[in-house]
Amino acid sequence: MVTNSGLVYLIALPLFGAVSLLLLGRRADKWGHLLATALSAGSFAVGLFQLSQMLGRDVESRPVTQKLFTWISVGSFNVDASLLLDQLSISFVLLITGVGTLIHIYSISYMAHDPDRRRFFAYLNLFIAAMLLLVLGDSYLNLYVGWEGVGLASYLLIGFWNQKAAYATASKKAFVMNRIGDMGLSFAIMIAFASLGTVSFSGVKEKAEFASEATMTALGIMLLIAAVGKSAQFPLQAWLGDAMAGPTPVSALIHAATMVTAGVYLIVRSNFVFDAAPNAQLLVAIIGAITLIFGALIGTAKDDIKKALAASTMSQIGYMILGAGLGPAGYAYAIMHLITHGFFKAGMFLGAGSVMHGMNDEVNMRKYGALRKFMPITFVTFGLGYLAIIGVPPFAGFYSKDMLIETALNAGGVKGILLGGTALLGAGITAFYMTRVMILTFTSPKRWDDNQRPHESPALMWIPMAILAVGSVISGYLLHQGKAFKHWLEPLFAKPGEHSELLPPIVVSGLALTMVAIGVAIAVVKYQLSEVDSVAPENVTEFTHFARRDLLQDEINEALFMRPGQAITSALVKIDQSVIDGAVRGIGQMAIGSGSSLRKSQTGFVRSYAALILVGAAALIAAIWVVTQ
């Protein structure tokens, strides 16, 4: 493996930015954000430079490593703090730093009036550094450090305005649910070390062939739990909706483009584990399919624009996990969809941000309407993103999502039909709720009262949105041209086995487009043509009530975990006081009690003492009598 000493700068720049901004405190308020954006851009430049170098090298010597220092070495457990840059991680690095820098620029004006802007940029840089460490780590343990670092950064960013109690609870909820996922990752590392003796990706890859399938399945399931925790997949998805408590750029960066995709990266990075454990792989696909439908259904009922986009993110990541669960064939398309999703979802979130900016932080779509005339640029960029996500042909979403649906259908047998079917159904529902968002926000008649004065956002905000919109248009075409991206990632994965062509690609695309058309039509009928009142109607189907309350995910979590947890805690506290402490105090009480009861026998009368002596003598004689019997 070729060593290259430039990798560390990728992480060092944003890390330096974060640490310096936090330590300098108030003094860095005036120029703090500029430094942060510059450092993020610098890191992007290093990324580009590394890409150009990597393209220059032949396929075998593309992956590059850099050993910083030996982190932990105890007996046979030795882990070096070293970085690995190969085709997979370079695509992630560019996505993270590219979208990250755009969001930095966007935040400069979005957070202009916030007193703690410096702290916000410090957290953003900390996030980017942690995410880069996650994707550049060469062993599961290094990945784990980045993994929890990202969890910490998201905790800080979600709870940025933590003077509001609700936001503080949301950040705590996010961190705790991530921690449950991280528990899965630590199990995975333990299993890897216990059964394979190594935790580095290359080491596990070598030993994967020899290892027993049971170990590999266990490892795969644990990695899946980790991915589910971080990427807000079913069953650990309840925190994503509340994560919208953070400022919108945070939602764009973390909860659309980068952090939530870490789960997909982990599964694709450990492709050798899942290839050796088919039923773990199937489970991944199933989880992807369930979340895909779950997120889409929630998306249809959400009135808060950010929550709707969050639900759509959950569903799109369901697609990626589904893709990753389809084995070698699906890995490349999952990552491709991840990148295109990074563009259009981040673009849409920034669009939502500029809409909120214009409507002074109003998030309820039912209070929007006819913003097309007041925010033309936001409307155009948001529209391009919308077209990309529902998969209209020339746009990015079409290429990546269609390929996913196609691989799902061709996965063969009943599995193919089921997974492909859910993917198609998902495409339809996605089209429905995305059109609903577009109509409610931009094209439907005005529903906001007059003291709102929607205005277009300043240049610094709409330029990144425009770039992302362009990205969401051309990225699909570029990556898919002659399967360029698939060949780019191919050397990393095993050869996909031959499988039957259930349906030719043209038919698949046709099917997908019809589903999309149906979805759009329903949405137009329901929201564009008929009158929409500004207060959410109550007499709606039972199902919509469920969807509004996130399909009861919070209620279930509270009933299953939180309340029993609280019950256990209070029970144990009572036990600790009464039983264990009581036992100790009890011994004390017993001593005092027996003392006072004995005191009563001292009556002071000579005759009672004489009686006691007599009783004693009688007892003695009785004992002798018994003994000599």
Binding site: Q602, G604, F605, V606, R607, A611, L614
Partner: protein
Amino acid sequence: MDINNYLYLSAILFTIGAVGVVVRRNAIVVFMCIELMLNAANLSLVTFSRINGTLDGQVVAFFTMVVAACEVVVGLAIIVTIYRSRRSASIDDASLLKR
């Protein structure tokens, strides 16, 4: 008639003495009951000396008598002093040791 009868008699007298000590309140009567117990003991000593055919029992009985005498002397002196200070010979009144 078995020689043990003397022992049974001494046991009975001893028990009566013990009950007397516990039941009666007059100090002097209590004292007499103690004397009775001592005499019962002497009787069994003499009987044992006869059983064993050695005079040791009698010598010990003799010593018991001497000790009993001393005890009576001192005991009565105490009773007198208590009586002089308290004008009552009942042993229940002397219960200052009570809690």
